[in-house]
Amino acid sequence: MDWGWVFGNIGELASLAARNLYLAMIPVVLGLLIAVPLGVLSVRWGWVYPPVLSATSVIYAIPSLALFVFLIPFTGVVGTTRDLTLIIPLTLYTLATLVPNVVDGLRSVPEPVRQSATAMGFGGLRRLVRVELPIATPVVFAGLRVATVASISLVSVGELIGNGGLGFLFTDGEQRSFPTEIYAGIGLIVILALAADLLLVLLRWLATPWLRSGRRAAPTPGQTA
């Protein structure tokens, strides 16, 4: 490990890391924006869910490099749309992780809670936004953490089609037979992924004040879980 090289190239490493984060996080945000309505629809209309679930397990199995190269004829590897060649597949992976979590989270809302909200005069949409989605939040965050870490790490595979953020350090290090570059790439990706994971834990803590300090909702006495 040649630390001199690391400190001498700190600027370039930072810009590769920024690019890696950008390519990884756009899909996570897009995936979340699509997964929530898709999950809500799957819970409302049960018949939507089985095909959605099959689709997610198929997408999940497809190797990332194969998905990237399938998009090359449409979005290319150079030019303005080349980022989409990565962003679209990574969004699909995020969806495959998140949709089942959104559905499980919404299904975990106890029926009495749903009925109380209705009795208090909450309409369908307001009940969803104010009651059901907040209760689903911890489960959705669990999926979000998995999707985020995987996305940050998967971006580097994009380097095989010339656009992979920190993955550049792997191909460049290989061509120059310079392991330091590869250690730096692996280290930075792991650090970014774990930092993003910690940030999500913090966000979840902020978003679910009712779960803090052990004040977990106890099951109603007499009711078995």
Partner: protein
Amino acid sequence: MNAFQSAWAWLTQPQQWLGPDGIPARLVQHLEYTGIAVAVAALIALPLGLLIGHTGRGSLVIVTLANLGRALPTLGLVVLAFLISNGSPAAVLVALVVLAIPPILVDTYEGVRGVDPDVKDAARGMGMTAGQTLLRAEIPMAMPLILLGLRTAAIQIVATATIAAYIGLGGLGRYIIDGLSEDNYAMVAGGAVVVVALALAVQVVFAGIRRLAVPAGIRQQAQAS
């Protein structure tokens, strides 16, 4: 689409199905790498996961591994193994094994950990020793998750072996990597189609194993995964 027509044309050329560079030979290589890596990883991770899940000691190690396993960039690990071993394909297999261990270990642990304590008490009450409890109660009940871990590992390794063609490993990734460097998109897309078919076949095979290896009573309880 034109791109897919060219992929189809490439796939249906007779010479693609013959000789040492043909699809059957490459497929066998790919299956060899995947089979060896998953088998070695299972030999290490299954006993360890059973032990930690049964005793409950070392849970922190599992949580750390689960996070780290997802964060590790596959391309980086493969290139690193290749570089520090002076270009040995066996070293690349070691990288594949390393990547296959976390999903097997984590899911085996969670499967055994999640067995209802009442069931374990009942097993002990029937006079089973610790070993019998593990073999006849905990493992069968953990089987759905153990198989899920093995499947995740197998799919991960199919994808990573594809990527490892970048440093000269054989297998189906050769078509994608060579096609990209020769600017032969028909070959790239044709190779990607075969890789996807293999990944989906792995899914189907594991669905079959699940039917055979999971006791009927547990199969009904376990949620579809």
